[in-house]
Structures are given as C-alpha cells and as structure tokens.
Symmetry: C2
Subunit: 269 residues, 2 copies
C-alpha cells in the first residue's frame, strides 16, 4: 500500500460542518466523501430530518455505518467559537477592497496551510443554492474557493465538498488503496536484454546492420518512455526469443531445401 | 480573472464517456462537473432514458442547457476505435503481474500525460457499483485511479468524475472565476509605515524603548506572515494614526490639568 500520504505530527483532522443543508442526499454525499478521504466528524447546523430510509443514507455508501449516524447537530456560533474555520464559497471577492470573501485560498493552498497548523479546524460548507451568507462568511477565519470555469464556477454542494476533501487527502489519509508504484520500472539489464532480442529480431528478418541499428533505436525510444514493468519486459523477451528462434529456423529450412527467400529484406530491401 | 490556466496548443479537450449508467442523477452530476471544469462532449453507452423531468436534468445545473441534451449515445466499440481511452477504476492491480488494472496513473499523472498529447481522448467511467468490467478495461489504453482511503476507496460515480475533471482543469479551463491573486501584498514602504505607527502606538502608551522595540518585532513577525493587502495596511494605518493622536492628546490633557498618570507603563512597568 502507498506510503505517499502520511499524517503530519502537528496536523489534526478537520471536522466538516454543513450549514442549513436542505437536501438529505447532499449530506449523504458529503459523508461518503469524508469516508473516502479519511475524515470522521460531521457537524450539522439546522439540518433536515435524516431518516434511515432518506437519500442521506442512500448516498452515504459505507459512511452510513458511522459518519452519518454519528453526525452531531450544532449551532453556527458553537462552530465559530470552538474551531479555526475555513468557509467554502464559489464566488469570491474580486480584489482587496472588500473583505467578506477576500482574501481566499484554493484547496491546494488550504492544504499547505493546514499542514503546519495545530488547531481544531472546521471546514464549513453552506446551504445549496446560496452557500454561506455574507453574515456567516464575516465570522469565518479563512475563505476557500475551488477554481472552476469562469462561465459556470458554481459546484453542487456535494461535489464541492468532494473536491476539497480529495485535495486534503495527503493530510487525512495514512494509506491509500493504491499500491506503491515507485520502482516498478524493470531492471535496466533486463530492458537491455530485451533490446538485444529486438535487434536479433530485426536482423533475423534480413534487415541490414544500419536499418537494424536505426530501428532498434526507434524501439528503444518507444519502450524507454513507457517505463516497462518487470512483467512486461519478461513477457516481451519471451515473445521475441520465440519469434527469433522461428525466424532463424526458417532460414535453416530455406537453406536445407534450397528455397528462394522472396520475403527477406536481403532481397526486398 | 486568473490566467493561471491556459489551454495548451497541443492538447485537445477529452470527451467524457459513461458506460451503462443506471442512475440518471449520476449522469446529471457528471454533466455539471463537465460544465464546471470546461468540458463539453458527453457520450453514453447504454444509458437509461433521460427525461426532461428526470434527476439527470435535476442534478445537471446549467449543463441541462447544453451538455446533457447534446449527449450522444454510442457503443463501447465506437469509443475504443475512435479515441485514446482512459478508464477510471477505484480498484487497481496490486502489482505488475496482471495487466488489466495495471499499470495505473493518478489524476495528477493523467493530467501531466495529457498535457503533451495530441490525440482525441476519452475519459471513460463505468456503471455504478461495479465500475468498468475486466473485459472493458482490457480494451482501454490507460487506467486512472483516484487515491483514497485504503479502508474505503470506492467513490460514487458522480464524485469520482468530479474529482478527475477538477484535476484536469488546468488543461480544460482557459479562465477560472478566481481573480488573479499574485501581487496582492501591500507595498513594502506602506507596511513599514504601518510598523512605524505601531511603534508610536506602543511608545504613546508609555512603553520604554526596549519594550517598544521587542513588541514591534513581535507584531512585524505576525503581520509579515499574513502578507497584508494594500487595503488592510491602509485601514490599519488609519486606525493607529487615530489611536496615536488620541493617546498623545491624553498625555497633553494629563499635563495641562496636572492629573496623575496611573495607567501608563511609565508608572506601571
């Protein structure tokens, strides 16, 4: 498993707060994203009823087992008083003349900031449609905005939360599901042996030295940029070893039976 | 508007393909993410009926006006034959022994790859629940997997698409909604003038030179790391200029009326 993502000594996992959500489905989507990206604590300000058969549970995936039933109802003031707050908004201030939505940070910048921050932190999302109000944003410590298309920058609530939590994953996930992919390039001596087989393959077909050298170089460039794995190189070596043996055997047969070689590059350069 | 994201000369915007989706809502979510992150062409293999009053249109935001009604139905074979295909899967191969789900790339690596690729490209997502089948993945050119929690790496279809399209945004969005935030730190001479006002502010309260110097240094470090904007520095200069005038005026009043100064650091160090 990948060790790319390690928890910092300093960093504390943020809680996620949703203010005045209208749609149970979005709460489920956010809970699922939290579970996918290693967060645990969900706080809700003025939530709708979350029945076991609501879309909240339908959309939560495995988060229906823990994050969603453990979600706590809180007031906005409790959040502001107890956490360093990061509020998310699609629409930011245009410049530094007004402060409610400015300065803002992108998710990547928020991640860099949190990496060295030792404080209870809350990521705060607003209601669908209108987001956090200006009055709420004025009480928030930092503003986060997801860069998106100038023509339509407003993400759906659940999608915005998914993107931000994805971006914070390096802080919140100790182990991803992905195997560690460093060092998967096959050993260089094996790759060189493969190039040897390929040169033989070309020569066995009757290419002259110059053409063999030139084509081997082309193949070297092609394979070189794919960073072939051990398995790939050994599979290809097997394929070409067999092909070379059969090509050489064909030459033996031609000589043994004094057949003309109408297919070789010797005769058809 | 930010010029951070520029379209490459070489890069062509990928199309998005969803194979055998069951839930109209997910198609709407994907269409919305496409619109948020600058993509246009949606291809569907074996889709459900997408009525105007279905969740597809309900979840699509502004993409209900163009991307969703323009979505085309295609076969999987048409996609494989006409595009360089990138298939998304939560579960990858563990290592290089099997090739169906290996090697894989993360969304960041896919972005780097596409940056210099001039080919019609399709991002292919599978059905809810089971994703792309092994048979489908075997016909796909590159595998993409989103790093997520080892304990629960399976993202919802719409959320996975949102994350990947977000990550490709630098290639697909010419302009984000975010204002260009470079150079928002106020001019250094203005920041220095502010520190001057702050030193005066301390001295005016009766701090001795050593205490004033030490405290000014603390404030310099504090403000320095916030990269204050022009507006912030000028607002604070105004505040402290006024405060300093009033503090100095208090001293004049004390002297004029021969009042004892019981609050100053001169007397209460």
């Amino acid at each position: 498993m990948s060790g790319e993502n390690t928890e910092s000594e300093v960093f504390k996992k943020p809680v996620v707060v949703v203010v005045d959500p209208k749609t149970p489905g979005n709460i489920g989507t956010i809970a699922r994203a939290m579970k996918n990206f290693g967060l645990e604590e969900l706080l809700l300000v003025d939530p709708p009823e979350l029945h076991r058969d609501s879309e909240a549970y339908g959309f939560a995936g495995h988060a229906r087992e823990d994050i969603l039933p453990n979600a706590r109802e809180v007031t906005f003031d409790e959040v502001v008083n107890n956490y360093h707050t990061i509020g998310c908004t699609a629409i930011t201030g245009e410049d530094s003349r007004r402060h409610i939505r400015y300065p803002f940070k992108t998710p990547v910048e928020i991640k860099q900031d949190l990496r060295t921050l030792s404080a209870p932190t809350a990521i705060v999302f607003g209601r669908e449609g209108t987001g956090l109000s200006n009055e709420e944003l004025a009480q928030i410590d930092q503003i986060c905005s997801i860069p998106a298309s100038d023509e339509y920058p407003v993400l759906n609530l659940g999608q915005a939360a998914t993107v931000l939590l994805y971006e914070l994953r390096e802080l919140t996930i100790a182990e991803t599901q992905l195997p560690d992919v460093t060092q998967t390039r096959a050993a260089e001596p094996d790759i060189e042996r493969l190039y040897g087989y390929l040169s033989e393959f070309l020569a066995a077909q009757g290419y002259n030295d110059r053409k063999t050298e030139k084509t081997t170089r082309l193949i070297r460039r092609l394979i070189g940029r794919t960073h072939p794995t051990d398995r790939e190189v050994h599979t290809l070596m097997g394929v070409f070893r067999r092909a070379n043996a059969q090509l050489n055997h064909r030459q033996e047969l031609l000589e043994r039976y004094d057949e003309p070689d109408t297919l070789s590059s010797h005769t058809n350069p």
